[in-house]
Every structure is written in structure tokens, then in C-alpha cells.
Amino acid sequence: MMDPILVTNNVLDGLLMGLLYSLVALGLALIFGVMDIINFAHGDFVMIGAYTAWLLAMAFWVDPSVTAIITVPLFFIIGIGIYKLVIEPVLGAEPLIQIAVTVGLGYVFQNIALALWHAEPKSFPAPWLNFSISAGGITLSVAKLIAGGISIISLYLIHYMLTKTKFGLAVRATSANREVAPLMGINVKKVYAITFGIGTALTALGAALYMSWGQTNPYLGQSFSLLSWVIVAMGGLGGVIGVLYSGLIVGVLEALGSTFITPSARLAVVYLAFFLLLWFRPRGLFARR
């Protein structure tokens, strides 16, 4: 028998993680939606972001989540740099070349991490936020509550930017028709660069929040990539809200699978549910027919 309190606790845990996953996946969704490039290195940006947060936390002896103040703007600029150096040159290229480039970028990041920090996991030894609060049998991590809260605020801010600002209009127009957008006076290359910067900055934010309780190793990017792809594939067509719903579903499935089946099967549970969904909705949750 499943204990209802344990199930509830898992669902709540899953929802909190789902918020964080949505935040990370939104970066992937933005880049894909605007420039039609699947960034296979997306999860590896999270991994590098996690190491950066860890290094800064160690250096300044603050909780890793606090380092987002530095890592988010830093990764925004790094994202723009990588866009200019690696992505822009292959914009018009064959999909296979684009895939090779972003997959390669991910491996470069992994190798750098392996060379610099080796395979042993790293975590901040004195996290301030890694304690729990309990009420009525339910126990939640304060670090995850804060991560979830900051994630949802960030998702809202991106949603606001996209729907209510002039730059957001340029992003959506470019995403709808990149050939015609310049005829409006929109500088498409600039939209691409900033979008890539924002997408990268979101990975740094997600990573810093995660490091409040988590640990990183050179392969951390794989699970973030896998989760982000499912989330975007299921919900990407629904914009920020689609990514949010789909991230929450993935977070809950992962938590339940991890507790009631086995932690090592958590990604398999998510993917099996995804395959199942595709039987009924081949174009994801938010396709308009």
C-alpha cells in the first residue's frame, strides 16, 4: 500500500523540482523556438554553471544560490560570446552540422570539467539553506522551496518580457517568421544573440539554485538535458505556460518513480510516460490540433 502522506510529500517535492526543471527547460525552448537550433549542450551549461556556483560559494563562503547574482549576468555574456563564435557561423548550415556543433560543445564542457575538477562530485560543505521544515507529516526542503519560488518568479518575468515588451515582440516575430522580421526593422542577429544569452543565463540560475542542496560532477548535464528535451517536446508549443505545466508533470513523475520504483529508474519513468503521451498526443500537450 502507498502511504498517502508519502505520496503527497513526493508530489510536493516533485512540483518544486518541476519548477526548477521548467526554468532550465525554458532556456532550451527559447533558443529552439527563436532560432530553430537544438542546443544539445544545454544541460552541460547547467553543469558548468553548477561548478561556477560551487567555486564562488567556496571562495566567498556564501550559499551557492547567492552566487546567481554573479553567475547569471556572467553566463548571459558567455552565452552571447558562444553564440557569436560557435552558433552564428552555422545558422544556415545543415541540421547535421548544427547538431555536431552543439553536441561537440557539450563534450568540450564535460572534458574541461573532468580535467579541472575530476570525476568526484563536488558540493558546498556548509549549505545554509539545506534544512527542512515539517508540518502534518509533510517535510519539505527550504532550499527547494526557495529554488521553486525563484524559478516561478523568473518564469513569470520571461513570460512578461515576451508578451508585454517591445523586445519580446521582436523575439516572437522572429520566431514566427525570421525572413520577414527584418522588414519590420528588427535586427534578427541581435535577437538571436540576446535570446542565446538569456537561455544560457537561465541555466546558470537553475544551477546556482540547485547547488544549495545538490552536488555536481562532469556528467550532471546529461540528466538536465534529458529532462529539458522531454519538457520542451511535451510543452514547448505552449510557450512559457506550456513549459511550466510540462515541467511540473516531469518533476512529479520523477519524484514518484524515484520513491516507488527506484531512484536509478527516475529518467526511464519520465521517458516511458512521454512515449505513452505521444500515442495520444503525437504533437505534445499544447499543439493546436
Binding site: 515582440l169 516575430a173 520566431s175 517568421n177 525572413e179 520577414v180 522588414l183 519590420m184 526593422g185 535586427n187
Partner: protein, 237 residues
């Protein structure tokens, strides 16, 4: 008087594929100029080249006396040229209103946005009724009106149309030509590419005929209508 737009010996194409072989054209202020010719002649390529959206090998393009051959597209729009593209190029997922706002993206257009909205809604009252509709759900005629309205939101000095009547019912085709004339009368200079050769020559002050990437004939619109070669080629009755 200096021309508003001037193309001098323009050679252009797509990468290695050359399409235009020395095009010379001009558009004067306040004119409607038509560019006609058979499929694949290079009419769309000419308009795209003016906006620096193709590969240019040789030649010069001047707008209001200024060389614009090396200016990126989005800055040329800021200078005052815009185009209603072939196939309309509506932003389908956006609303009608958002499409219009996108049209007014440039600095020159931003200040006059309220004025412009009023103007395009008076020109196309249908768009006002459908302001909050998703643009992808408009009918073909409505979508063409939106494409024209969106271009007008940019406050162009020179407005280029690429086959605005393509795929429209005859009655709506006439409406489109009415709008073109109205715009010219309101002070916009027009360069129009059209399949409806007869209609366009009737409204055009001057016209160019293009074949295989070169201008083969030019003259006043009404005079060209009587040209025997043209009559034969386009079966104008």
C-alpha cells in the same frame, strides 16, 4: 530632380546563382512604378536586392541620394523603405494588433504609432474588428490587408509590393489596386511587382518590363499598355 530610388547596373543573385544582370531603374518621388515580367524573371530578386537580402556582385543602389548597398536590411527599413513580401509573411501566431505593432518597430515609426493605427484602421475597418484575432486564422484577403497595413505602420517613404493580389478573388484584387492608388495620393511612393499586368499598367505612372534578369522595356504605364510586344507576351486584351 534627383530620384528617390536609383539602381545602377545591379548584378545580384543567391550565392553562386546569378539572377540579375545589370539592372538600371529609378523611382521618383510620388510615383507608382510597376515592375512586370514572366515568372522567374527576377522581379522578387530585384526587390530583395534593394533591401540587401540577396548577394550583390556589382552595381549601386541609392535611396534619397544615399548609397544603401551595404546597409543591413533592418537599417534600410529605418531609412524609410519597406516591402509587402510575396506570400504576405504574416506572423501567424501573433494577433492582428501585435502584427501591426511589429510593423511599427523602427524608431521612425514608434513616435507616430497612434496616428498610424488610426490610418490603417480607417483604410481597413475589417482589421479593427479583428484586432485581437490570431493572425493565422484570417482569410486570404484579410491577411493581405494586414500585410499592407503592417507595412504602412513602418511609415515608409517608399513602399514596395511583391504580387499583392496573388491568390485573391477578382473583387479583392481591385480593392488592392484602389489602396495602392490611395497610398500614392497620400504621399507614399510605390514600387509594385504584379502578375495582373493590365491592372498595374493602368495605375502605374511608369513601368519596367523585366526578362531574364534584365530590363527589356520601359515607359509610361498607359503607353506600355498599347505596346505590341507587350500585348503579345502577356495577352493583354
Amino acid at each position: 530632380m534627383a530620384s528617390m530610388l536609383e539602381l545602377k547596373n545591379v548584378h545580384a543573385g543567391y550565392g553562386e546563382f546569378r539572377v540579375l544582370h545589370g539592372v538600371n531603374m529609378r523611382v521618383d518621388k510620388g510615383e507608382i512604378v510597376a515592375l512586370v515580367g514572366p515568372n522567374g524573371a527576377g522581379k522578387t530578386t530585384t526587390l530583395r536586392t534593394i533591401l540587401n537580402m540577396t548577394t550583390r556582385y556589382e552595381g549601386e543602389i541609392k535611396f534619397q541620394g544615399r548609397d544603401i548597398t551595404r546597409i543591413p536590411t533592418h537599417k534600410i527599413v529605418e531609412e524609410g523603405i519597406t516591402m509587402v513580401p510575396e506570400g504576405r509573411g504574416i506572423f501567424n501566431p501573433l494577433t492582428v494588433y501585435e502584427n501591426l505593432l511589429a510593423g511599427a518597430y523602427t524608431k521612425r515609426a514608434q513616435e507616430k504609432i497612434e496616428d498610424s493605427l488610426e490610418f490603417v484602421f480607417s483604410l481597413f475597418p475589417r482589421l479593427k474588428e479583428r484586432k485581437n484575432q490570431i493572425a493565422g486564422t484570417l482569410s486570404g484577403g484579410e491577411a493581405q490587408m494586414l500585410a499592407i497595413a503592417r507595412a504602412l505602420m513602418a511609415r515608409p517613404t517608399l513602399l514596395m509590393f511583391d504580387e499583392p493580389s496573388l491568390g485573391l478573388a477578382p473583387k479583392i484584387v481591385l480593392e488592392v489596386f484602389d489602396v495602392v492608388v490611395k497610398l500614392r495620393d497620400s504621399g507614399v511612393t510605390v514600387l509594385i511587382v504584379e502578375q495582373h499586368v493590365k491592372n498595374s499598367l493602368e495605375v502605374a505612372d511608369r513601368a519596367y518590363v523585366m526578362e531574364m534578369g534584365q530590363i527589356v522595356l520601359e515607359g509610361e504605364g498607359k503607353a506600355l499598355l498599347k505596346d505590341e510586344r507587350l500585348k503579345k507576351a502577356y495577352l493583354i486584351i
